[in-house]
Symmetry: C2
């Protein structure tokens, strides 16, 4: 569905009267980035001039102020361009907070008292499945053994899976090569894209299985291409290759559609995964209520930032759905890893059946790029959320006046 | 939730090389209109230069081209700012088409062959509940008696209900006055706003029932204020006043929440209604699959224009859910009436339990304002979709440079 993405980002910087700054990203596929930038500017008057302590003391209230601005709200609510802009702003505030505390975001989160943590979450529209008190009780119970898990995480890291082996359009040899390299790097979970041609999907799945065997996990990603019945049919025909999950089989809005696909594929041992295009916590709530997903793919930029992702992680724990974040894009790996670390230490307490997506590109544009070693995300050491870009990148790739864009325009004019 | 709306609109004009123009509206509550305008501009290159015949010959394909532009799609998909912009453009094209045929939109629709009509609808993501063939069969079966219904509609009009009696914040006397005037005008269905204070809701419902009696319908609208359980509790306590429906009890994204509210209020005879903030046909599909709504409140500007509303009307018919459009705002009454007329003549074949919302404001800004007589919408006679604004209005109220805004700025400066 997204044939020619040109990974881009709206980049938010929050300045303070101290030495600290905060950054957030609104990830896009290229065209439309300006809309997110405009939406950020439109919301910025709600942030500029605020005291950080006022925000941090009742972050849920501040979050609601942004999300439910009483005129702009109509353009969502809690979805699309305005929610992407909210995410970029909210994440920049968390990045700032973590930097002020001189901790990586995951550490800021796990060091918080349960009371402080739940005070950042807006529970409205989800109290039918989780209340503030329920969340508190859970967080407190996990504190007992948290230190132990933090040590384990520090020494062993967190499992990653690789997507870059299975893009559409690669030659057979390139796919085999990519698989072999990834296996050598230690990967045991591989994702392939499906949905343009059944014949081609079958061929590539056979080929990948030949390389990785049946001990490794093979996941499939349809990027919303199918109608509900089409998804079931297509996956029944791919079931022989034992995929662990089918990701985004249909519209990300179709909770009941995902539930039906999940029901029909259960006997084949195929789970359903979605999240990167799920607009907010209300959609995630329903996906879990309806037993529609076996894997919860939170995204750092789609829903309204850290606060909303915390709510989703708590709900996933309640429904025993493992959180396996979506990443890739621009800086998504850098940001989303913090959520999995927090989930492991403070919420689910487990890495079982959990992994973070890994795509090996664009990391060199970040001040604190991810470190994936032996197919595991290792803990970042710098403070913040990981979304601060290098100065050179911000200058080089600025749209439309940065040197990279100028050069591109010139070369297009000559052609 | 929308405390200080300042009804506004992004206004789209499509020019052709003939004498015909088409207009569409992106209705907003004020701030954020610029975002919709920017999104329209961003999508406009997909429209400018097209031949109308190419669009009309495969309107579903053209609709998909706009909705699934492969980079901009990420910002939705099919929701929020980009979908509001799509609606404004798509409706402008329909307005143009109707004007080229010199018919009101409803007449253009009912005069189409069933084949032509279904060719405008993108059935993707809804084939699990309705297929093109199913829609064709239905439309053909309704043709037999269509003439008869068209005559009835022309002579008697279509039922309206009134919202302006029940706003929050009116004094008791004003509410009583408003009810009496509306009764005199022939209204038999009245809507009141609820959700800020239970005590106040009870008081006002008693007061309105005293005025309108129990022969008339009383509907309630919570504008998304409640969580799921809160909605049930609140409405149980208002059940004594026998409301016909509770509208927008919770998040418009919460299909399962609405389903639960509907189940729990069934014994009280209260139906659930929603739609004005439901982002697309996939949400409507699920609301009906889950028996979550008893009234389907389509909106002319929220989903992707006429084409998507046709799909929703066809699904509503399949699930026996009466279509009771949302209106008010700016030009929403003018536009949405066409859908009810089409529904009556070509789809449901019935006015039973159906009515169009009526709010008495801002009609004088339109070239072809609605005519509500004896509490019934009478057929518009001019061609188009009804969303063409008067030249004076476009000049006077242009933002930010029109005289009305200039004056406002000056008076604010003086103050």
């Amino acid at each position: 569905m997204h044939k020619r993405p040109d990974y881009s980002a709206a980049y938010v910087t929050i300045h303070t009267d101290s030495k600290y700054k905060g950054n957030g990203i609104g990830f896009t596929l290229g065209r439309g980035t300006e809309l997110v930038v405009s939406a950020v500017k439109m919301l910025s008057h709600l942030v500029v001039g605020c005291k950080t302590s006022d925000i941090f003391n009742d972050f849920a209230a501040f979050w609601r102020k942004l999300v439910h601005e009483d005129q702009i709200r109509w353009l969502g609510p809690e979805k699309g361009v305005t929610h992407l802009a909210t995410a970029a702003i909210i994440n920049a505030i968390w990045d700032l907070w973590a930097k002020m505390e001189e901790k990586p975001l995951w550490k800021l989160l796990v060091d918080m008292s349960p009371e402080q943590l739940v005070s950042t979450i807006d529970f409205s529209y989800i109290t039918d499945v989780i209340t503030k008190n329920e969340a508190l009780t859970l967080l407190k119970s996990r504190q007992v053994t948290a230190q132990e898990r933090a040590r384990l995480l520090k020494s062993r890291g967190y499992p990653a899976y690789i997507t870059s082996a299975g893009w559409l359009g690669y030659s057979d040899d390139k796919i085999r090569d990519k698989c072999r390299v990834a296996l050598k790097e230690g990967f045991t979970s591989f994702k392939m894209k499906v949905g343009t041609s059944l014949e081609d999907d079958i061929k590539r799945s056979v080929l990948i299985r030949e390389e990785i065997g049946y001990e490794c996990n093979l996941m499939m990603d349809a990027n919303q291409r199918w109608d509900v019945e089409e998804a079931v049919d297509h996956m029944k025909k791919l079931a022989f290759s034992k995929p662990l999950w089918i990701e985004e089989p249909t519209s990300p809005d179709d909770v009941l559609g995902h539930a039906r696909i999940a029901r029909e594929l259960k006997e084949d041992g195929i789970g359903v995964a979605t999240g990167e295009a799920c607009q907010n916590k209300v959609i995630f709530k329903q996906l879990m209520q309806a037993n529609a997903i076996s894997f919860c793919q939170i995204d750092s930029c789609r829903v309204g930032g850290v606060n909303e992702n915390l709510a989703i992680i708590l709900m996933a724990n309640k429904f025993n759905v493992p959180v396996c974040p979506h990443a890739g894009g621009v800086g998504l790996c850098e940001m989303v890893q913090h959520f999995s670390f927090f989930d492991f230490i403070s919420v689910s307490g487990s890495m079982e059946g959990r992994m973070i997506e890994y795509v090996d590109h664009l990391h060199d544009h970040f001040v604190d790029p991810i470190r994936v070693e032996n197919a595991r995300y290792m803990l970042p050491q710098l403070s913040g959320m990981g979304c601060e870009m290098k100065k050179e990148t911000l200058i080089e790739y600025a749209f439309p006046d940065g040197p990279v864009w100028k050069k591109l325009q010139q070369s297009q004019q000559i052609a």
